[in-house]
Symmetry: C2
Subunit: 332 residues, 2 copies
């Protein structure tokens, strides 16, 4: 084994858009394992919108990413050395290994993975945090009845794609919103949504009306801004909103919500949530998601970029919506 | 008894601000009572912000006010003739009698009133719909714990004044927002709020920070717009919002919400509500409110204008925030 590994650190905080020069690729020495520690070779790194928020030095629910330290990130990998009683060489684990080829862990927060029926990379997506985000918002916030309509923005993404499929499995009408005909086609033909509206199509309002003729009973919001406004305007009375993301505002600009009165007029319940605060739901949710993937009832796509050095550009692509499905970086 | 009475009808729909010429005072004949009907002499007419919404011909949770018909409105009055088995002359009742001196009713929706310990007019305010609005939002949506901080806009108004006093009774810190030093003074000295911020004072953000040093756990929102934005920016994680009114937008203009990201960042739960949809809570709520008024534990003020003809100007004053406490029109 090499006695160095590569990692990417945050070199500077963004002023507006994220650019590649904010990151720095470094080669660092592999530390000695202490008693109770283990060494993981990361196979896949997960790239997620929340990372944009951490890059800022702002008051938030989470501490900011420190400068000159390994960028935060979820990983799946293989234990390659262990001085920990519960893990041994060859175990596959999910961890917060960061943007790095290797990670040292004391076992805290690690999850052992069964790769016999579910591919390793799926544990970063449909059977990982994005899948659980979809599961929690749908089951614990929207609580839709069969026949009701759910509207999901960023529908081709890692979270949105699961929301729509789970909604279909419970007998709802699933309407997606995505950018461009290719993504919309994927959402309807491959994922089985009832309809998908291209928000770049020029008539978002009219297209959404046609896609949700009976109105919208639940919004799973991943984007914010005008897309959210348009969905709110189509809500039925007592609609519910699971507020999961505001990717449109990740560059720091405030994107106001124009349809405030509809929140009152339609007696809407809106809840912002962070799925990692509801870990008590994870065992149930991950078991359900894993079974659905193993049974072929939950489809997903991955956009995989190759090699650690590709992570910054892949992350920028994610923020610009260039990926389809879960954005990963393959490290091994 | 005179065989005519006066009423006010909506003559035209507003284009922007409400003006007196949108209303018309009419003298109309008193109808004959049919079997099962009763005649009420209205003593007080309630003026409420929701009436502004009804004046528009827009899709809403309620039908628009028809043109050339008696303006909708809650009233309290005395039965002066009855051919209804459950009501007799001299009974005091709460009704939706409208902007009129007299009202014919078939008894549906009438509430008999006990005026021995609670003044008649209070049944339109603190022991009526505004009181119940406060009670419902506080008890069923905000659900605050002792020691938590509630922020109430339009704090000197019919709803806001009750919110803060009920919050104090359950051991919360009550912070009001109102327009002008006179109203703020009333809110703190007479109603017993811990603090009241004058939103015209020039430093709403700083003043609210000083008034709510531990942050805000619950917002009872009666206004919307920049006042709501500023309160949201001071919320603690997991704060709750009872969205009751958007008076700032009643002239038809959209007032955007700028602090959308804070809904996600602080995992806020927001709920819009209409208290008349929760009639199952009214018996419990009204009993509690009546007892508190009778015991002198719930204070209120009324702004009373004299005579039916004064209703349009009084209503415009209400929309501009000129009233303190419940706005009434005294008809008898």
């Amino acid at each position: 084994m090499n006695n160095t590994y590569q990692r990417i650190v945050l070199a500077a905080r963004p002023q507006g858009e994220v650019t590649p020069d904010l990151f720095r690729l470094e080669t660092v020495p592999l530390p000695e394992l202490a008693d109770g520690q283990l060494l993981i070779r990361n196979h896949y790194l997960s790239l997620d919108p929340y990372m944009r928020g951490r890059m800022d030095d702002a008051r938030s629910y989470a501490a900011p990413q420190p400068l000159d330290e390994t960028m935060i990130g979820g990983t799946v990998g293989e234990v390659v050395a262990s001085r920990h009683p519960s893990f041994r060489e060859g175990d596959f684990v999910a961890a917060m290994g960061g943007w790095a080829e290797m990670a040292v862990s004391d076992g805290a927060g690690l999850r052992k993975l069964d790769t016999s029926a579910v591919p390793l990379s799926a544990y970063l997506g449909v059977v990982g945090m994005p899948g659980m985000t979809a599961w929690y918002g749908l089951n614990r916030i929207l609580e839709l009845q069969p026949g009701q309509t759910v509207c999901v923005s960023a529908a081709s993404g890692a979270v949105g794609s699961v929301v729509g499929q789970l909604a279909k499995l419970r007998g709802c009408r699933a309407v997606g919103i995505a950018g461009g005909p290719e993504k919309c086609d994927y959402v309807v033909r491959e994922l089985g949504f009832d309809a998908c509206v291209d928000y770049r199509g020029g008539d978002l309002r009219g297209d959404l009306k046609a896609a949700a003729p009976d109105g919208i009973d639940g919004i799973f919001e991943n984007v914010g801004g005008p897309v959210f406004d348009t969905a709110l305007a189509r809500t039925n009375p007592f609609a519910r909103v699971a507020l999961c993301g505001m990717i449109a505002g990740y560059n720091g600009e405030d994107i106001p919500l124009r349809s405030v009165r509809v929140l009152l007029k339609n007696r809407i319940t809106l809840r912002g949530f962070i799925v990692t605060e509801h870990l008590d739901c994870w065992p149930q949710g991950l078991a359900e998601l894993g079974s659905l993937v193993a049974a072929g009832q939950l489809k997903y796509r991955e956009t995989v970029s190759q090699g650690l050095a590709s992570a910054p550009e892949a992350f920028i692509g994610l923020l610009k919506g260039r990926n389809v499905g879960k954005q990963l970086v393959k490290l091994v």
